[in-house]
């Protein structure tokens, strides 16, 4: 095992940790409606494909999605992102997670969705190149 090979293996572990952190920053900013922090998670030409909100590409379109669609939501539900499965390949990575949503309703109910994300390393920092949220997941047949 050379020093270079070891460095590569350590870098992958560091990348997984950094990607989890980025993903959690996104969820924390979603919960607290910190929209600028949320936008900061995206690469300039990133794509957002979130549930019924449709396909948006680039910061300008995603800014509209956040400030026009998300901000209209009366009350933000609880967001719980967990069970990450992350694969790193150089300066690109992909992942899937479970996202639980808890609406502020009685009786209590929960919704289960899936995140499928792609990431890119830009200037040493990981950003979202693609965000896809599908709900319900798994699909429920009629």
């Amino acid at each position: 095992m050379s020093l270079e090979e070891l460095e590569k293996r350590i870098r992958v572990l560091e990348d997984i940790e950094a990607i989890e952190k980025l993903h959690r920053k996104y969820i924390f900013s979603l919960s607290s409606r910190a929209w600028d922090d949320l936008l900061d998670c995206f690469a300039e030409d990133g794509v957002a494909d979130i549930g019924q909100h449709g396909f948006r590409q680039g910061k300008k379109e995603i800014r509209e999605l956040v400030y026009e669609d998300f901000d209209k939501l009366e009350i933000t539900p609880g967001h719980l992102a967990c069970q990450p499965v992350i694969s790193v390949a150089g300066d690109r990575a992909s992942s899937y997670w479970i996202l639980y949503l808890f609406p502020h309703e009685k009786p209590m109910r929960w919704l289960q969705g899936k995140h499928e994300f792609e990431y890119v390393r830009i200037g040493g920092e990981w950003k979202f190149s693609k965000v896809k949220f599908t709900r319900p997941w798994p699909p429920v047949s009629e």
Partner: protein
């Protein structure tokens, strides 16, 4: 890249993992009302500032605080700590987490709270130097759309 630099980077990864473990052990102990185990997670002069109970400093005061929890935290309550964001800086670290609290029926309820913590390495072991729990998080006024 020297062996020393590489060792430092591995050290940070190990520290993050150890801090996650500490925090999860604390929540396991909380869920099962193991007050002594919870106390063990704190540094001697650590501070616990939990919900509306007010800040308590040092093991003696924190032990008294846990005595107040006795009988209020029940085995039927769910505690789910998740989404850790941890930054390590040498022998100290900071982190925040979400804690979901699930209360059983007949009308099940959930509460979302947040941990903001500082950690310190004491004799090679990570401990809480500061633990703050805030609920509800986010504050309701920030998660509700303003009427204007």
């Amino acid at each position: 890249m020297s062996l020393e630099e590489l060792e430092k980077r591995i050290g940070v990864l190990e520290d993050i993992e150890a801090i996650k473990k500490l925090h999860r052990e604390y929540v396991y102990a909380l869920a099962s009302q193991q007050w002594e185990d919870m106390l063990y997670c704190f540094a001697d002069d650590g501070v616990a500032d939990i919900w509306t109970h007010g800040p308590r400093r040092g093991k003696k005061e924190i032990k008294e605080l846990f005595n107040e929890f006795n009988g209020k935290i029940l085995p039927t309550h769910g505690h789910l700590v998740t989404q850790p964001v941890i930054n390590v800086d040498g022998e100290t670290a900071e982190g925040h987490w979400i804690l979901y609290l699930f209360l059983p029926g007949p009308e099940a309820e959930w509460f979302q709270g947040r941990y903001d913590c500082k950690y310190i390495k004491v004799d090679g072991k990570w401990k809480f130097s500061y633990l703050k729990y805030t609920r509800p998080w986010p504050a309701l006024e920030t998660i509700t759309r303003s009427s204007d």
